[in-house]
Symmetry: C2
Subunit: 358 residues, 2 copies
Amino acid sequence: MPELDLTATSADLTRAVCDIPSVSGDEASLADAIEAAVARYPHLEVTRDGDTLVARTDTGKAQRVVIAGHIDTVPINGNVPTRNIEQDGEPYIWGRGTVDMKSGLAVQLKLAAELVDPRVDLTWMWYDHEEVDAASNGLNRLSQNRPDLFVGDFAILGEPSNGQVEGGCNGTLRAVVRTHGVRAHSARSWIGENAIHAAAPVLARLAEYRPRDVAVEGLVYREGLNAVRIGGGVAGNVVPDLCEVEVNYRFAPNHTVAQAADHVRNVFEGFEVEITDAAAGARPGLDAPLAQEFLAAVGAEPRPKYGWTDVARFSALGIPAVNYGPGDALLAHHDEERVPIAQIEAVEQGLRAWLSPR
Amino acid sequence: MPELDLTATSADLTRAVCDIPSVSGDEASLADAIEAAVARYPHLEVTRDGDTLVARTDTGKAQRVVIAGHIDTVPINGNVPTRNIEQDGEPYIWGRGTVDMKSGLAVQLKLAAELVDPRVDLTWMWYDHEEVDAASNGLNRLSQNRPDLFVGDFAILGEPSNGQVEGGCNGTLRAVVRTHGVRAHSARSWIGENAIHAAAPVLARLAEYRPRDVAVEGLVYREGLNAVRIGGGVAGNVVPDLCEVEVNYRFAPNHTVAQAADHVRNVFEGFEVEITDAAAGARPGLDAPLAQEFLAAVGAEPRPKYGWTDVARFSALGIPAVNYGPGDALLAHHDEERVPIAQIEAVEQGLRAWLSPR
């Protein structure tokens, strides 16, 4: 079994956790290595659920903070093992997972081992299956199997945020807009009705759509409405009777899923709209006292998070939550995924400064 | 081996050739049975090429007529063996192939056996692989292997034409119209460009398109331009960078493939257009003297054929050709495919009246 040395630098630890491949569904080796590594630290009470690990301090502090990160990655594409590279004179670690989100994971593992007596009690959560469907998500499973572990006054998710603090997240809703027609042989097309032609106004409304910017608790969330898939057609000589346009609406966290669904139905009024999938966003929650202390300690200006992340799960449980991790989210899933070592160190120092006893 | 009795009625022979399954690629049994049956008639000189059979009379007549039909069908869907049914008091034969085009084949087989001394020399062609891609077509293969057999003053194809004479056929052209964009995560869609949204004007032009009616040698051909397939999309959270709309243009036989391609490029001016497949139509050729005699003998008003058929192959060789067969083309490939027995008999009588010695 590969071993992890939690006393290594967070940069070296980043390479070590990246070099144990852990594409979604294949996290067992990395989970085993993490479990063995944290088991050596008696100040941590370790629980395992599938390939998710929870490590808790229990020092009797008045407050508890949850710090979480996923251990899986999207598929490797010739970019593991990792390499140390330089770009514009700056040292980077290159490879799958370096951004999303094993550098954040490495920082968390190192601090979990080091912070024997943190100034708040800590619940570390390292979970599987984040990069795939929500039903498989390890954090979701854990919240059902062990709701008792989801106790806390504040939560930090180590998703890449360029070392900044990103508050809340937009919600996401998917819908299928359908047009219908009547099949016919394309040699006698006037007998049929072309469902693809009937989708012209659907695409026109998408092309004309101007997304809103919505301020929520001082952060401005930018929305978006996009076709993510279109499909239709029976055969090369048949007028098709069905066309489907799948759209993805990203909506600001002051709107409920029901409001978002109404908005999408309004945009496509006159067409069949089926809502297929939705998750509410998360308000930034930065007015919580612990959040204010955290911002002051790490010295970062909060920004809005656009993408949906698991902070919304904590938000739904009434736990204010933010994203704070090294790496540029635009490089996540990229074949040239890479993280500046300085950002890994800055996040490590930010978290340590806030969590160390005063 | 199943046996065919060419002295049976054309209705019984229709059932017999339908009940020997011969989906494209699986025509050998039927071809064997046809070969064995026609070999008994010494007035026919029989040639086999793959599963295509050619049977020729050689009675020294001044003119020669080619009469052709394919022996394959689209896949069976619980509709073989055939049944005799009644509809509105009229007797039908029901089952796969009854319309397209084994009733026409049965008439041809019966007359090939019977017409020992026809008033023109006859070249019967029964060929494989018509219902699949053009490259596999038995008539196409035969024209390459045995061009010497493609000699004639007139050709009749037994494709279903409701017992009427359908002249020529529209051409067909397929093209892919592509729009491009820039991929991005749908949570930050403003970084990308949505290729599906960019296809809005492509669908709008299709929806607004008014097809032409074009008179060619007295017959009016109705054209059509249709999307037959649309596709685009990477994943449910990705702004797609490519959208493809496959269109099928059916064009009147007075236009060349090059003119048809220009027309499609004009309609989609400003977009990337790739012509993927095209076949010229066939002029009706009804001004040929033999065609006029044929029309008078069978007593039918000529109509335009909309769908592309193998008449275009003869037309391209300079042989005027028409479609003449029992069955409603709208029921071809239908699960309830069925042909009125009276139409089979009418086509048999029409061909016999014209081909019998005066």
